[in-house]
Amino acid sequence: MSDSQLTFTLATLLGAVGVWLLLPRGTARGWAAGAVLVAIALGLGASRMLRLEDWVADGVFFILAGVTVVAAVATISFRDPVLCAIWFGLSLLGTAGLFLFAGAQFLAVATVVVYAGAILVTFLFVLMLARPKGRATWNRSSWEPVVSAATGIVMVGVLSMTISDVLALRGETGRPIVEAAETAGDRAEGVLADQHVALVGAELFGRNLVAVEVAGTLLLAALVGAAVIVARPRSEAQEPPAAD
C-alpha cells in the first residue's frame, strides 16, 4: 500500500466516524468530537492535494474548496432544515467560486442565479411555512446513520484513491495523461478565452441547439406539472392536519 493510499484510507476511516457522530442521532453527544474527526480527515485529504501554479492560486483554491466541503458537511449534520438550506447555499456559493476559479464564469453565475436565487428561496419558503426549528423527531434522528456514513465514505475513499492513483502518481510519467494535457491546446484561446460568454453561447446554440430546445420543453413540462400537482380544487381546500 502506497503512502497516498494509506493517507486516504485513514482519512476515510476518520471521516466515517466523524460523519456518523455529526449526523443527527437523537442526541447531541459527540458532535464536537465528530467535527474534530471530520476536520482531521479533511486535513489529511488536503495534505494529498497537488500544488497549483503559485501560492495565491493555492490559497484561493483551498479556501473555496474548504468552504464548499465544510458547508456540505454542515448541511447534512444540522438539525434545523432552515439552517441546512443556508449551509447548502453557502456550499453552492463555494461551488460557484470553484467554477469561477476553473474559468467557467458563466456557470458560476448561472449556478448562483438558478440555485441560490430561485430554487433555494422557494425551499426556504416551504421550510419556513412547514415547521420551524429542528425539534421534530424526523429532524432529530436519521435513518441508519452508521450504514449510511460507512457506505458514503467508502465510496469517497474508493474514488479518491483511484483519482489520486491515476493523476497524482502517474501524472508525471503516465504518457496518456501528460499527452492529453499537452495536446489540449492553448486554453487561453479556448475555455479560458477573454470572450468567454460568446464562446459558450456559440457552443450552446451551435452544437447543442437541439438539446437546448429539449431542455426548454422539459422546463415547460415541469412548470405545468408542478402547477397541476400543487393545484387543488377550492372545495377540497382544507387546513393541513396539525403537525406534531
Partner: protein, 147 residues
C-alpha cells in the same frame, strides 16, 4: 508536474467528496427537503468534475453538460417541491419514513426508535391582555405554526 493535471486532480477529489457527502445525507436524513438538497449536492459534485474535465481537455462539452444539469435540476426542483407540498398536506409531516406504502404486502413497516424527549422550548414572551394575568396556553407557545 503540469498545473493543469494538478487542478484536475484537486477538482475531481473535491467533486467526489461533495458527491459522497450528498449521498450520505440522502441516505440518512429523513426530512424530504433536506434529502432533496443532498441530491442537488450530488449533482454539484458531478458538475465540478465535468467542469474540471472540460478545462483539462480544453473543451466546452463539460460546461454544456453542466448547463443542462442545471436546467434539469430546476425542473426537478419544481416537481419535487410540488410533490413534497402535496405529501406535506396529506401527512402533516415532512418525514420520508411516513411514505412506505410501496413495500411488499406482508413486510413490517420501519419503526422509528423512540427518541428521548427534548426539554420544551422556552416560551417566547408575549404581552398579556389588559387587566388579566398573563396566561400562556400550550398552543400559544408556538404561534408561528398558525402562519
Amino acid at each position: 508536474m503540469d498545473p493543469e493535471i494538478a487542478l484536475l486532480h484537486n477538482y475531481l477529489i473535491v467533486g467526489a467528496v461533495l458527491f459522497g457527502i450528498g449521498m450520505i445525507g440522502f441516505f440518512s436524513r429523513r426530512n424530504m427537503i433536506v434529502m432533496f438538497l443532498c441530491a442537488e449536492m450530488m449533482l454539484q459534485g458531478v458538475s465540478l468534475s465535468l467542469v474540471a474535465f472540460g478545462r483539462f481537455h480544453n473543451d466546452f462539452g463539460g460546461q454544456m453538460l453542466v448547463i443542462f444539469i442545471i436546467a434539469v435540476a430546476a425542473c426537478e426542483a419544481a416537481i419535487a417541491l410540488a410533490v413534497v407540498l402535496m405529501l406535506y398536506r396529506r401527512a402533516g409531516k415532512l418525514d420520508v419514513i411516513v411514505w412506505q406504502a410501496l413495500r411488499e404486502d406482508n413486510q413490517p413497516a420501519f419503526e422509528e426508535e423512540a427518541l428521548p424527549e427534548e426539554p420544551p422550548a422556552e416560551p417566547w414572551p408575549s404581552l398579556s391582555r389588559a387587566g388579566l394575568s398573563p396566561e400562556i396556553l400550550p398552543e400559544e407557545t408556538d404561534f408561528r405554526s398558525r402562519l
